[in-house]
């Protein structure tokens, strides 16, 4: 069973991470992933070190476990469907002479390993920062490593079940994909809000006077959000082996139970998920005609709204931008600096606003994956009598259709919240539009240069591809640079800096699109 499970896992894992024979692109992907990993590890170490420097080193174990578990829960829920359920090679896999539980274990292992890599990148540096501050004994090391290995089990299983239940519920409806997206979003928000309300301090639940320090307060909060963190805290800080064993038994037992129970219903659930509800009662009616560009644009829009992972991943930036700006109206300008969590930002907040909207909006870069998402259908696009330029335009237009209204709403909210001079108001509206346009063109450029049409699961393109990461992080860096400049060099006139960056971005957009037109996909 173990060897078959590993064999299935190996095929699935390498397919998921898209290991290709093209050495050059493979090296680029590995290097980029490595850089991202290093950044995450450094960031995690700094958080751990920061907690330690404030005398809260004892919070580190709970914090590390809780944060990795919540992030794992959030992202696994998005991709569970397609990895464990309703995946393309389900028929082939289930026809093989292997037990259903082996198939489940192998599919789960893929998600577990991917989540474990993320967990290790957070928990290993945080563990080091704990060692730096606390200098724990030998027992700490096996406890920390075992805790790390067990960490993704519970959130991955919960997220998988959550994802499957949502799909099972929504697949009965006509607009199943949109409903799935809405319910997934609502469920995630409910989980986050629910966990925070559990961790909320109320007079009845916690005796405030009993809390001696901020560290203790944080610990109580985290342990309420994620109760397993409490056990892990006791195991690491107090070397309480009973708590440690309970933590391991709960994690492994929950996983074992998950595989066993799921094996009983696995075929039924997949049949439910993969059974299409067809009406087959179409009667010819009059059709409406449009231009080739409009047809391509409509196709792109339908592609976007047909995929929950696509919406949740690429729509996150604009959702954040709108939520942030609407929140500004209610929270008030004084609190914004605190929320943004950047030292010294209060002084220059008016100047950085256009770039904050730009940065958030530019994280929604569908063009960085839309070409790859053509997948095996790329042949259709190549055989149609349309120029590559028209195809690029349709994909760029689609991204602009998504982000520009959101950016305008954000800009309007921020202009109301932070009254500015006329040039400042103009920049609040113009800068995000220009940045959004550049990011859309840049994403297109990246995807033309790094396409992947050979995927079997769209998640590998949307979440794990080089071009997706380049699009999202490129957008963030692009909008982030002027913010850093304005925060660091406070004596600079934000309107002048804003105007220079906006003009430069506009010129770059024109030049890059000019170059793009000559490229073939």
């Amino acid at each position: 069973m173990k060897s078959k499970c590993f064999l299935l896992f190996k095929v699935q894992f390498f397919n998921q991470v898209n290991v290709k024979s093209k050495a050059k692109s493979q090296v680029m992907v590995m290097v980029s992933m490595g850089i991202l990993g290093v950044i995450l590890a450094i960031y995690s170490y700094m958080i751990g070190y920061g907690l330690g420097s404030m005398g809260m080193a004892e919070v580190i174990p709970s914090y590390a476990l809780a944060i990795t578990s919540i992030v794992t829960l959030f992202f696994t829920a998005i991709k569970a469907n397609g990895v464990l359920f309703a995946y393309k090679d389900y028929d082939i896999l289930m026809a093989l002479p292997v037990k259903t539980s082996t198939v489940i274990a192998s599919r789960f292992l893929t998600m577990y390993v991917l989540n474990l890599i993320f967990t290790a990148l957070v928990m290993v540096p945080m563990g080091i920062s704990y060692i730096v501050w606390q200098g724990p004994g030998f027992l700490f090391y096996p406890v920390w490593i075992a805790g790390l290995l067990a960490a993704p089990l519970v959130p991955t299983t919960i997220a998988t079940l959550l994802g499957a239940l949502i799909i099972l519920f929504t697949s009965r409806f006509k607009y199943a994909n949109i409903l799935t997206t809405v319910v997934s979003l609502a469920a995630m928000i409910a989980v986050v809000l629910g966990s925070f309300s559990l961790g909320g301090v109320s007079d009845e639940s916690i005796d405030i006077s009993a809390i001696k320090s901020v560290g203790e307060f944080m610990l109580v909060q985290i342990n309420r959000i994620y109760p397993l963190a409490s056990l892990f805290h006791k195991a690491v800080v107090k070397l309480d082996m009973v708590s440690f064993l309970i933590y391991l038994v709960i994690s492994a037992g929950w996983y074992y139970l998950f595989v066993k129970v799921l094996s009983l219903r696995y075929k039924k659930m997949n049949t439910g998920l993969m059974t299409y509800h067809t009406r087959s009662d179409y009667k010819m009616t009059s059709l409406s005609a449009g231009s080739p560009l409009k047809a391509l644009w409509k196709k792109e829009m339908k592609r976007f709204f047909s995929s929950t992972p696509y919406i949740l991943n690429m729509g996150m930036g604009i959702i954040l931008a709108v939520v942030f700006s609407i929140a500004c109206l209610f929270v008030g300008r004084d609190q914004i600096g605190t929320i943004l969590n950047m030292p010294g930002i209060q002084d220059v907040i008016g100047g950085v606003l256009p770039f904050v909207v730009s940065m958030l909006g530019c994280m929604s870069c569908t063009t960085s994956v839309s070409l790859s998402l053509e997948g095996k259908s790329i042949g259709i696009l190549k055989s149609l009598p349309v120029s590559p330029e028209l195809v690029y335009k349709s994909k760029i237009l689609m991204n602009l259709t998504l982000i520009l209204p959101a950016m305008l709403i954000s800009s309007a909210c921020l202009a109301i919240c932070f009254p500015q001079s006329l040039p400042g108001v103009v920049l609040i509206f113009v800068t995000p539009l220009v940045y959004g346009t550049f990011t859309s063109i840049f994403g297109m450029f990246v995807n033309i240069k790094m396409p992947n049409y050979e995927w079997t699961n769209e998640i590998s393109v949307i979440k794990q591809s080089m071009s997706s990461m380049a699009g999202i992080f490129g957008g963030m860096i692009n909008g982030g640079i002027p913010i850093i400049i304005l925060v660091v060099f406070k004596n600079l006139d934000p309107v002048v800096v804003g105007a220079i960056f906006t003009a430069a971005e506009a010129v770059l957009s024109v030049l890059l699109f000019g170059y793009l037109k000559k490229l073939r996909f």
Binding site: T278, R279, Y282, S286, S288, S291, P292, K302, K376, L384
Partner: protein
């Protein structure tokens, strides 16, 4: 209608898939392109359709080069791949209307042709369902209807009969004849020699990327069958 001149294609790191291919397909021809698996049929067809780039040789469609005037060439032809990987998120009718928009087919003609072929292929009732719910044969039917919608001067098909039910196969053959009678040309690949023998007026046999036989069906097979000719040619070339 279609002229292939000294076409060669080499994939990176492998030997030539097609070598120095020369072919001519006239208006009214139903041209069968026959060969083993891996003989170079799909490579040639994809190059003609403008899906695959190539460096050696030239392919002319309606006297225009597919390399230098791809959009003009594609406007007068239609391509049906061996595996109809259509846009699964669209419904059948949305896909057909999308193709209609791309080829700028006037609405009335579009509606008439979709209705005509939809009814003939008995798929009209499923037009409102998502393509992801279709069987292979249904997708193939949608691909065929989309190809016929703009009355192409050149129809390129890669193994078109795979996955089609018997009635749809018969209908497709009839439709191919009708299209050619109206002055179009058809170029298609097939493994099924019986189909090629009954359907085509011209054939070409390709082996190992090289053209081994080309010409009019009647002259080539004489009193023999296409099967005998194929075996003879393949064995002779060993």
């Amino acid at each position: 209608m279609l002229e292939i001149k000294n076409f060669s294609k080499t994939y990176k790191g492998s030997k030539k898939a097609v070598e120095d291919l020369n072919l001519k397909v006239e208006a009214g021809d139903i041209f069968g392109f026959i060969g083993h698996n891996g003989a170079g049929k799909s490579t040639t067809i994809k190059a003609i359709a403008g899906v695959l780039d190539f460096e050696e040789g030239e392919i002319f469609i309606d006297n225009k080069s597919i390399r230098s005037q791809p959009v003009e060439c594609k406007k007068v032809m239609a391509y049906i791949p061996d595996n109809p990987d259509l846009y699964e998120h669209l419904t059948g009718i949305q896909y057909l209307n999308f193709i209609g928009d791309i080829f700028e087919v006037p609405v009335r003609e579009r509606e008439e042709r979709i209705k005509k072929y939809g009814d003939e292929f008995e798929i009209t009732s499923a037009f409102g369902d998502a393509i992801s719910s279709y069987s292979h044969g249904m997708k193939q039917k949608i691909a065929i209807i989309s190809a016929l919608m703009h009355e192409p001067k050149l129809l390129i098909l890669d193994e078109p009969f795979v996955g089609l039910d018997p009635k749809a196969s018969i209908l497709l053959k009839q439709t191919m004849h009708e299209l050619c009678e109206r002055g179009s040309a058809i170029f298609f690949s097939t493994h099924v020699l019986d189909v090629a023998e009954k359907l085509c007026n011209k054939i070409a046999i390709i082996k190992g990327g090289r053209l081994v036989v080309e010409g009019e069906m009647e002259k080539l097979i004489g009193d023999e069958s296409l099967e005998s000719l194929f075996m003879e040619v393949i064995d002779h070339e060993k």
